[in-house]
Amino acid sequence: MKNTPLLALLAASALAPCLAAAEPVHPKLVAHWSLDEKVDGPDLEIKDRGPHQLHGTLRNTKNAPFPVKSVKGMKGNGIEFEKEHQAWIEVKPDGALDLAPPFTIAAWVNPAEPGVMEVVSRKWDADKNGVRMRIESRGMGCGMGDGNEEFHLYSKDAVPLPGQWAFISVTHDGRQVRLWANGEEIGAKATSLAPTYACEGKPIALLLANYLGRKDAYPFHGVLDEVVLIGDALNGPELTNLAMKLKDGMRR
């Protein structure tokens, strides 16, 4: 049955109490987009299982057959994004999303090819605000700004690799930013920079799977699943535990 927006809203509202009641994956969970929705239409709501109900909306810029697919993810479904269709999930700015150290951004990714692609994008390229986590042409990286200066960090290891699942994370404990893949640290640099989230006075939206600016610049191409924001800087074993919670026993 085709999923009309009304039906989707009704379904979402019916589900909402159940979602809210599920135990959060971390006591300091800020947001958790599990991407389990059966994506078969534009403007589909992508639920946040976190305490603030920061639901996102699936969008794309082209009138095309649906540019995303529900596929098996690491836990339940994930969403497969096609590069040329440049779809994304948009979450409206909210104070709850203004992460201050300590924080963790994490997601399961399975990129389809090498290249630069956004995973969590809340930063303009030419601005010194916001935060982003993305896959780079070799490895992964993050960027953030506090209005005065920018900080960038790139991994020393070429993880994640195309065609393979990896649980990637950025953590900031207030003194150091670290990059992680599968629970192992792959980059670290000292900084006490605390990101801010407004550009020219306007709060910055949060996008999953694409860049806030030009949508053809760094579109995500591959499968994305279980994006989480946590108000604590997790260490390696904690990230591994988180990854295990965000994975079910399903085999490919």
């Binding site: 690491m74 399975n110 690799l161 065609g163 393979q164 699942w165 990896a166 649980f167 599968n182 629970g183 192992e184 390696g236 074993p237 591994t240 990854a243 295990m244 994975k247 399903m250 085999r251 490919r252």
Partner: protein, 1003 residues
């Protein structure tokens, strides 16, 4: 061990068991291994539900008498729980009072007791398998067996556990074997196995019985294993690749002594998995330290592992086992893979490593050294290094020390001293490490020697190639070429050294001559020297010193003295190549310290010749590297009739590549290729390698860095002209390619396209010329491209291929490779045309023709097939046909047919001709023949046509001449012989006007 056997075979004695009933037998139904709802409790009681629910296997037969049920039976069954294989057995025993169960502890000689033995071949290919033996007290012996079972490594320890129990008239065992120890990565749910029993309680002597019927009382016959099928077994989680630890080192991290090593892991399970990787260090069964960390990887992902184990400083000495274990997270008690390495864990804050001189810390007379160079390895943390100072001095007697003081230290701090005009004798590099606070942290005195000139000096250059008298030398030869000096079982084989030398061979390893009287050994070495052949001999003067037991301990003072005298006596002989330290010591297992001690004696007494050691396992190379300068493994591919080989040809690559990682790459890499028919030694389906496979083996080793080859073995190749002539031709080609083969320092791997193609390739540079070696390790025909470096010429000559040239296009050579094909491309037209593969083929064809030209109708080359009445019980048993062929393979060397023991006369050997032949003369070579008839068969019945008469002029020859008969088959019927049995080395049958026999006359 194969080599102990071959020493006996050198005297012309071998034994085989008749097994006609096994010819063409259908494969038995697999024994099924159900999944247990609940794992059994290992208490020896067999009262668990899993044993009660399933059927027992029984019907053991007597080993060596496959049609006879064992008098006292055994029954067993298997089950599994997805992580472990469980085994239960009940042994009926009417004489429980005589039950023997004295061996305790792990890896003791449990086979001296009443015991059960389990053999598991996870891949079912017969190449390697796991061997477990459990005695009636529950003591466990386990070993990794290789080369079809001929060699075993009991130092391999599995996680197998066992318990035993006893009843009034039986005893029992229960055993659990982790799948992780069976390396299920490449195995499926179907394995091959056998179960055997050694019953010592039997009256009148030991009784050996087996589940899989066996032709001999020897369990290690993989060709007779039967299938074992795991039911409801999800083995995907074992599908991981875990590399054995390597590059071990012991450092100080802060205040903590830490053992570091490297490994590599790949997830092939089909899904993303969370693992726990545990690195540990164990010594003599004690856990000294371990460290675990998580690892998560998707299927197909791989990563290097940096292993780290903190160690109590007091334990940081001697040798220990460094292990890496991988388990699924949450299931750490049931690992999915385990690998280990035996290595030194000695810690010292400072060590000195000389890079020049690069070998044995000796400056040789033929070495023009400008500087003594080295590296001080400082095993401190970064904090410890800060502010520390290294004070060095080169001390020579009668000279003022030359001093250096180095601050700004690094973990590896280089140093150098001038080396010109240093005096002959002992020198020292003295080192003192002083902390930032001025207090000494450690001191060291490192000895080096300046040596006098020595004729026949054989040393390793910095690139680990061999230099003899300062000139490059590529040893290429054989094991066991018989000299003229001594008869083998009454036979002499004169002229073999001359033949070997004429065939371009320049090196020999011999097992026996170290132990002959001094004058005989001198004559032997003189003969070798006359023919330009170098010889490696044992450093031990007595054969008893190389027996298993002495090699398991350190030499006594008396033994050390004798070794010292022996080395001193022979070090100046110009024929000496080096000292042959050990042959597959891991199968004993010998104590590495034994060879380490002997090597120290050799170094002291004879720094001019290297020590050479042969291993059959990669772990063995690491473990025994302390005892050698040259590693010369024998990674036999085990060529087979129905497939290329039981192990792939890349097996070679693995061993030779590994040598560069053993002990920091200190050792030279030589190889002992498979130059014989392993099927002659009972390897199921075995065959002799073909010429192109010989060439592939050698060039594959070269590609991966080998700079010497001693083929196994001259003694056993005489029936195979493709091997004898093929290797001789290869020696010539090797001479032409010697500069390229020895240009190791210039070697670069060439990444073949497509990158999954099983072709290995390497590029070398000699002056202005390039050489590209490429070998196809598969039995498929392929077309691959070999990328060339930028600027490389486009026109290449293909070595030995009769003028063939190839043009590179777009910077690549694209060429076709047949199965096991090798191409060597070069820019040197001269070298390319020195030898010819066509000539090699002609040479082999001529040799085959010459064998037939003797007119011997019994020769197996003519299509004649042999049968026998029986074959002796031997651990190298074979069928009646195989046993019989050793008496018509055209060679008196190597093997013979021997009847059963005790014999049941009359015993006979027969040959069936492919078509009826007219025979008038028979010549037989044998032992233990008191009375024998020659019989012929032209229809169905045998008719005696003559009696064999002993030739008084020959120790082993018998002849019979008779009126010509036309016969379809001929038989030697031995009616009388000694109680210990008889043997036939060779039987020849000629027409009434025979040509001269090919076999050498007696002296």
């Amino acid at each position: 061990m194969i080599r102990a056997y071959l020493r006996r075979a050198a005297a012309g004695v071998a034994g085989f068991l008749a097994l006609a009933c096994f010819a063409g037998a259908a494969e038995p139904a697999p024994v099924r291994v159900p999944r247990a709802a609940k794992a059994p409790v290992l208490d020896g009681k067999l009262d668990d539900a899993c044993w009660k629910a399933n059927a027992w296997q029984s019907g053991f037969t007597r080993a060596g008498q496959p049609s006879e049920l064992a008098e006292v039976q055994t029954r067993f069954q298997f089950c599994h729980d997805g992580d472990r294989l469980y085994f239960a057995a009940r042994m009926e025993e009417p004489r429980m009072e005589a039950l023997r169960a004295e061996v305790a502890g792990r890896d003791g000689k449990v086979w001296l007791d009443d015991c059960v033995e389990i053999f598991l071949d996870p891949e079912g290919k017969g190449g390697n398998y796991r061997h477990f033996a459990i005695n009636a007290a529950g003591a466990v012996f386990d070993a990794y067996r290789d080369q079809g079972g001929h060699v075993g490594d009991p130092a391999w320890d599995s996680g197998a556990k066992a318990a035993a129990g006893r009843g009034k008239d039986h005893w029992t065992i229960e055993c659990a074997i982790p799948f992780a120890d069976l390396e299920m990565t490449r195995a499926g749910a179907r394995m091959e196995f056998n179960v055997g029993r050694e019953r010592k309680a039997a009256e009148g002597g030991e009784q050996i019985s087996t589940f899989a019927p066996l032709p001999a009382a020897h369990f290690h016959k993989t060709g007779f294993f039967v299938p074992l099928e795991l039911v409801d077994a999800d083995l995907k989680h074992f599908a991981v690749d875990l590399a054995r630890p390597q590059n071990p080192r012991v450092v100080l991290d802060g205040e903590q002594v830490v053992v570091l090593a490297d490994s590599h892991f790949a997830n092939r399970t089909g899904s993303y998995e969370f693992f726990t990787v545990t690195a540990s260090v164990e010594k003599e069964g004690r856990l000294l330290g371990s460290e675990a960390r998580p690892l998560a990887l998707d299927h197909g992902a791989e990563r290097p592992l940096a292993l780290r184990v903190p160690l109590d400083a007091k334990e940081a000495e001697g040798r220990a086992s460094i292990a890496v274990t991988v388990a699924r997270r949450g299931a750490e008690s049931t690992p999915v893979a385990r690998r280990w390495l035996f290595a030194s864990v000695d810690y010292s804050p400072i060590s000195i490593h000389l890079t020049a001189p690069a070998y044995r810390d000796c400056i040789f007379a033929t070495e023009n050294l400008e500087e003594v160079q080295g590296v001080a390895r400082i095993h401190l943390s970064e904090a410890g290094l800060r502010g520390a100072t290294l004070r060095l001095a080169l001390e020579a007697p009668g000279r003022e020390p030359v001093r250096r003081e180095i601050s700004l230290l690094k973990a590896e701090t280089p140093f150098a001293f001038p080396a010109k005009d240093l005096p002959v004798g002992d020198l020292r590099v003295a080192a003192e490490l002083v902390g930032a606070d001025g207090r000494p942290i450690g001191r060291l005195s490192h000895r080096l020697r300046k040596l006098p000139p020595h004729v026949g000096e054989a040393r390793l250059a910095a690139d680990k190639t061999l230099l003899v008298d300062g000139k490059p030398f590529l040893p290429f030869g054989w094991f066991s070429v018989p000299p003229s000096i001594r008869p083998y079982g009454g036979l002499r084989f004169d002229g073999q050294f001359a033949k070997a030398a004429a065939n371009g061979l320049n090196a020999i390893v011999d097992y026996d001559f170290s132990f002959y009287p001094v004058e005989d050994l001198r004559t032997y070495l003189d003969e070798a020297h006359r023919h330009g052949i170098k010889v490696a001999i044992h450093p031990h003067p007595h054969r008893a010193m190389i027996d298993p037991e002495p090699s398991k301990r350190l030499p006594t003072e008396a033994e050390a003295r004798e070794i010292r005298e022996h080395v001193r006596r022979w070090r100046d002989h110009p024929a000496l190549l080096g000292w042959y330290m050990a042959d597959e010591p891991e199968g004993v297992p010998s104590l590495p310290g034994n060879f380490e001690t002997i090597r120290r004696i050799v170094l002291e007494e004879d720094p001019f010749h290297p020590c050479i050691l042969l291993n059959n396992t990669i772990e063995g190379m690491h473990r025994y590297a302390v005892g050698t300068d040259v590693l010369m493994p024998d990674p036999y591919p085990l060529f087979q009739e129905r497939q290329l080989a039981a192990r792939g040809l890349t097996y070679y690559a693995d061993f030779i590549r590994e040598i560069a990682k053993v002990d920091g790459g200190r050792c030279a890499a030589w190889v002992t290729p498979e130059g014989f028919n392993y099927g002659d030694f009972g390897q199921a389906d075995g065959r002799a390698p073909r010429f192109h496979e010989l060439r592939c083996m050698w060039h594959l080793a070269v590609i991966h860095g080998a700079t010497g080859a001693l083929w196994y073995s001259w003694w056993h190749t005489q029936p195979y002209p493709e091997i004898t002539e093929g290797v001789a031709w290869l020696a010539k080609e090797t001479q032409a390619l010697q500069p390229a083969i020895l240009a190791k320092a210039s070697s670069r791997e060439v990444k073949v396209e497509p990158n999954h193609a099983p072709v290995h390739a390497a590029l070398r540079t000699v002056g202005k010329d390039l050489y590209l070696f490429a070998a196809n390790t598969s039995d498929k025909t392929l077309t691959v491209s070999l990328p060339l470096p930028q600027g490389a010429p486009s026109r290449w000559h293909v070595v030995s291929e009769d003028g063939r040239c190839i043009e590179a296009r777009q910077g690549k050579i694209t060429d076709r490779f047949g199965p096991c094909d090798t191409h060597v491309y070069t820019t040197s037209a001269t070298v390319a045309q020195r030898e010819s593969l066509k000539a090699a083929a002609e040479r082999i064809a001529a040799a085959k023709k010459a064998r037939l030209a003797t007119g011997n109708h019994a020769l197996l080359d003519t299509g004649a097939t042999a049968q026998t009445s029986s074959t002796s019980v031997s651990y190298m048993a074979a069928s009646a046909t195989m046993g019989g062929k050793f008496a018509n393979d055209g060679s008196l060397m190597g093997t013979s047919w021997r009847c059963q023991s005790p014999p049941k006369y009359p015993e006979w050997w027969s040959v069936t001709f492919p078509a009826p032949r007219t025979i008038g003369r028979v010549v037989a070579y044998g032992t233990g023949i008191t009375s024998a008839e020659v019989q012929a068969r032209s229809t169905n019945d045998w008719t005696t046509i003559a009696r064999l008469a002993k030739d008084p002029g020959h120790p082993l020859r018998f002849t019979a001449e008779f009126a010509p008969v036309q016969a379809k088959a001929l038989r030697i019927l031995v009616t009388q012989g000694p109680a210990e049995g008889m043997s036939l080395l060779e039987v020849e049958a000629f027409s009434p006007e025979p040509r001269a026999p090919r076999l050498p006359p007696s002296r």
